[in-house]
């Protein structure tokens, strides 16, 4: 008995020593930005980002290589990072808030978490409608929310607008994900802004009535459901369609190949686009570096990489979209300042709840 107990206790002791030792070793991995002394010369920039793409990591590395500025990153979910930023207030160490939805950027601006930035090259690189009106945030990449259709059952002539999807002929044929999803919220917010709340509600009601099944899964799952014959058309982001076409899984590639991409509302008010973008935080401690990173990300080189490696449309007009994106053709976009997406987000959520869009 005595020996077992001694062993047990010495085990505990050993473990605590081990942990203490590990504690010292792991310091470099978890160092708070301010303590990172090597980076002091060229400085550093601290990011809260909800984008988790390898393309982004590669671009940050390239930025560090070119400028010597260290990029420190917290990767999380947009709303939660926003909440963290808001609660940290003046004390925050984050210099940039970077997320994949214009509505969220607008929310951050409204909360007073961002600051205006006047910078010529940013203004030059990024067209006005992809920037905040007060330049508090800047769009960096674009995605279009398009209709994909089963090539064997639907022809492009059958399709016209988002509104047409609510017609009777699409009853039990439309696939779209849950109203929880921010891309759908922004889509409906854009309709509120363009057509008014009543029209947007009517549209949501029409979609809810025409759904082929209760919403489930992500954007890719909607595409698969079209090919599986559960419905005929799906609303999804171009970004995910690009990912599907380039999947490591040959079955997924086959799915994508059976689908066509249709840009709706070309004859009317344009296809819905949304941006990923970033804004300098109000209490940024490294404002200059944050702006430098924004300039870099909006430069032609970085914009090309976003498009080639991550199937996002560049915002920089001097950069051609990647071949795949170009193959879907050019399209007319909604004429909308993207701040509107944030302005009407809460209204969009409520009206989708009211019509029973799950």
């Amino acid at each position: 008995m005595a020996t077992t107990k001694t062993k047990f206790l010495s085990g505990l002791l050993g473990m605590s020593l081990l942990m203490a030792a590990c504690g010292n070793e792991s310091e470099p991995a978890t160092t708070a930005p301010a303590e990172n002394e090597e980076a002091q010369e060229a400085g550093e920039v601290n990011l809260y980002t909800s984008r988790h793409y390898e393309t982004d990591d590669a671009l940050f590395d390239q930025f560090t290589e070119e400028t010597g500025i260290e990029v420190n990153v917290v990767k999380g979910e947009a709303d939660e990072l926003g909440e963290r930023l808001s609660r940290e207030g003046e004390a925050t160490e984050a210099d940039l808030y970077y997320t994949a939805d214009a509505g969220r950027l607008h929310w951050a601006k409204e909360k007073g978490l961002l600051q205006p930035v006047e910078n010529d090259s940013l203004n030059e690189n990024i067209p006005e409608n992809y920037r905040d009106v007060d330049n508090e945030w800047f769009g960096l990449t674009k995605r279009a929310r398009v209709i994909v259709y089963a090539k064997d059952r639907v022809t492009p002539e059958d399709l016209s607008t988002y509104e047409a999807l609510t017609e009777d002929k699409w009853n039990k044929k439309v696939l779209i994900r849950s109203s929880d999803n921010v891309y759908n919220q922004s889509l409906v917010a854009s309709f509120i802004s363009l057509n008014g709340a009543d029209a947007a509600k009517e549209w949501s009601q029409g979609i809810a009535n025409n759904l082929a099944r209760d919403p489930e899964g992500g954007d890719r799952d909607q595409a698969k459901a079209v090919v599986a014959g559960i419905g005929d058309v799906a609303v999804m982001n171009t970004y995910y369609f690009g990912q599907l076409l380039n999947s490591e899984d040959p079955e997924e590639v086959k799915v994508a190949e059976q689908l066509g991409v249709f840009f709706p509302n070309q004859e009317t008010n344009g296809t819905h686009v949304n941006v990923s973008g970033a804004g300098v935080t109000k209490h940024a401690k490294n404002k200059e570096n944050a702006i430098a990173l924004l300039e870099f990300l909006s430069s032609e080189d970085a914009q090309g990489q976003f498009s080639e490696a991550n199937f996002e449309y560049p915002v920089n007009a001097n950069v051609e979209p990647a071949e795949l994106l170009a193959s879907w053709g050019q399209f007319k976009e909604q004429d909308l300042n993207l701040s509107e997406l944030g302005k009407y987000n809460a209204d969009a959520v409520k009206l989708m709840n009211e019509v029973g869009w799950k």
Binding site: C22, K75, G76, D79, E93, E216, E354
Partner: protein, 546 residues
């Protein structure tokens, strides 16, 4: 007994430490709890009108059936493994815990990946046999699907705790029942279920709490439950106040249930004044029955572990060249590091509180110990906000100290791992506390009292008498917490310091972007490390028995 007298009677280092720990754990959750009473705003009516009714209904359905099936599966497996011999029994003893190594949301992604249109089932039917099956048959993204996922990945909680109990406690009762001619069914329902009630409830309550606070599985499946309402309010309506109000309600309900359970149970405990109980010797069944039993056990193991494991392995082979990098060593280190520290801290705190509530021995102190589960009852992201607020407050008040030390930065703690580990501790304390509590329940107080009568101090008694008797439970709790922290996602996402990633956040990085195949490598590593810790736990316990 009034509170003052209570504390005068029990004022010693144990009670003081317990109270300090509980206050610390409580502080972030309390900030959430009090907001139940905030005045409702206009979003609140909307939430009530359009969301709550249906959401609560779904929640109750999922919780009820997951609880029921977990108990049936967990207890039956525990019973078979303890009472009967069958092939590979020694392996299954710990192998049946392995599903716990798979985070439910990864399990959900994996199963959906198997059964969806491009998954191995449908594509094989299509390509090899030219059969296009009705895709609706393969739909798993619904309420029954969620119950399935939760049950097969969470039943081990019931299994572990019940098995430990049956192994050590039931020999004489079961043998007597057998001698008196009880058949297997009668034995199961009239002896096994009632005597292991405490253990079953302990395990099932962990399962239920896990289901209540889950967001990963339900949001992926598009099922609307109580947590969905919390997140809709928070994200969709940018209304943190309503979100926290909902979370507070959830917490209050959970707390009430657990409180009632503990009070109602009262003294009806089956503790023995005998720590080394004779283990139950498994008996052999007829050939047919043995085969049947084996098939059942193998079936559960296959769906709970083998199938997802093999699928993830295949995906990993598909994508590892694309995702692997030396960073993975750092990820493994980070994950193991925070998991070890958190488990260690939690077990110390659990022992202190457990010992205190046992010695104080009033229904009041027992009920107070339920505070430990508060952090486990609501979605991680909400608790994270509480922790963040608490640490920012701490930083503000420690500012003078920082300045005195010559540190020129407004926030230190809230940018450090301390905050994250604190969050883990307040969230997973229940996981570590439950086994300790059950362990103390089991040994009762007679040994402690004997030791005290012989003039040994409280502290010495604890280390010489109590701790050795419940070390199995302590080790079990440690392992469970370790696995939980390995799998943890929402707290880590919200509270991570700069440039700090874990295997779990790495898996999420891909899975969140619907890149399930790319998430496989990080998921596999989580499962392997957790699986290994289960094996070590088992091996140590087995060795101790000899």
């Amino acid at each position: 007994m009034n509170v003052f007298r209570f504390f005068r009677l029990h004022a010693n280092s144990w009670s003081i430490m317990s109270i300090i720990f509980m206050l610390l754990i409580l502080s972030p959750t309390l900030s959430i709890f009090v907001q139940i009473f905030e005045k409702p705003n206009e979003n609140w009516t909307h939430i009530q009108e359009f969301l709550l009714k249906n959401y609560i209904q779904n929640t109750i359905t999922i919780v009820f059936f997951t609880g029921l099936f977990s108990i049936l599966v967990g207890v039956s497996l525990a019973w078979f493994v303890t009472a009967y011999t069958f092939p590979l029994r020694r392996f299954f003893k710990w192998g049946l815990i392995l599903p716990l190594a798979i985070p439910p949301y990864i399990g959900a992604y994996t199963y959906h990946g198997i059964v969806n249109y491009t998954g191995v089932l449908q594509s094989t039917l299509r390509n090899e046999f030219n059969i296009t099956a009705n895709p609706a048959y393969f739909d798993i993204m619904n309420i029954p699907g969620a119950i399935f996922i939760f049950t097969i990945f969470l039943y081990p909680y019931v299994y572990i705790i019940t098995r430990a109990y049956l192994e050590q406690q039931s020999a004489s009762l079961i043998e007597n029942a057998r001698l008196l001619g009880s058949g297997p069914l009668e034995l199961f329902f009239h002896v096994i279920m009632p005597i292991s009630r405490t253990a079953i409830i302990g395990g099932a309550s962990l399962v239920i709490l896990e289901v209540l606070n889950d967001y990963g599985v339900v949001s992926y499946f598009g099922i609307q439950v109580f947590t969905t309402a919390i997140f809709q309010a928070w994200f969709g309506m940018s209304d943190v106040a309503s979100a926290i109000k909902l979370a507070g309600m959830l917490m209050a309900i959970v707390f009430l249930i657990l409180f009632l359970e503990k009070v109602l149970r009262g003294r009806k405990q089956y503790s023995y004044s005998n720590a080394k109980v004779r283990p139950l010797e498994p008996i052999s069944l007829s050939r047919e029955k043995t085969i049947l039993l084996f098939v059942y056990v193998l079936f559960i193991f296959t769906i709970g572990f083998l199938i997802p494991f093999v699928q993830l392995f295949q995906w990993m082979m598909l994508t590892y060249e694309k995702v692997i990098s030396p960073d993975f060593l750092q990820l493994i280190f980070n994950s193991v590091y925070v998991s070890l520290i958190s488990s260690f801290l939690i077990m110390i705190i659990a022992l202190v509180i457990g010992n205190f509530t046992r010695l104080a021995d009033s229904p009041w102190s027992k009920a107070v110990s339920r505070i430990t589960v508060l952090g486990y009852s609501i979605p991680g992201a909400v608790i994270a906000i509480g922790v963040l607020t608490f640490f920012l407050w701490l930083d503000r008040h420690l500012n003078m100290v920082y300045t005195a030390l010559g540190i020129d930065a407004p926030i230190i703690l809230s940018l450090s791992l301390v905050m994250l580990i604190f969050a883990y501790v307040s969230r997973f304390l229940a996981i570590g506390f439950n086994p300790v509590d059950a362990g103390f329940d089991k040994i009762g107080r007679s040994f402690t009292e004997a030791s005290r009568l012989l003039g040994t101090s409280l502290m010495r008694t604890f280390f010489k008498v109590d701790l050795p008797m419940i070390r199995g439970a302590v080790f079990g709790g440690f392992t469970l917490v370790f696995i939980e922290v390995m799998k943890e996602l929402p707290l880590t996402l919200l509270l991570q310091p700069f440039n700090f990633y874990t295997l779990s956040t790495k898996a999420f990085q891909y899975a969140n972007d619907e890149a399930v195949h790319e998430a496989a490598l990080a998921s596999m590593l989580i499962i392997l490390i957790s699986g290994l810790s289960i094996f070590v736990f088992h091996a140590v316990l087995e060795k101790e028995k000899k």
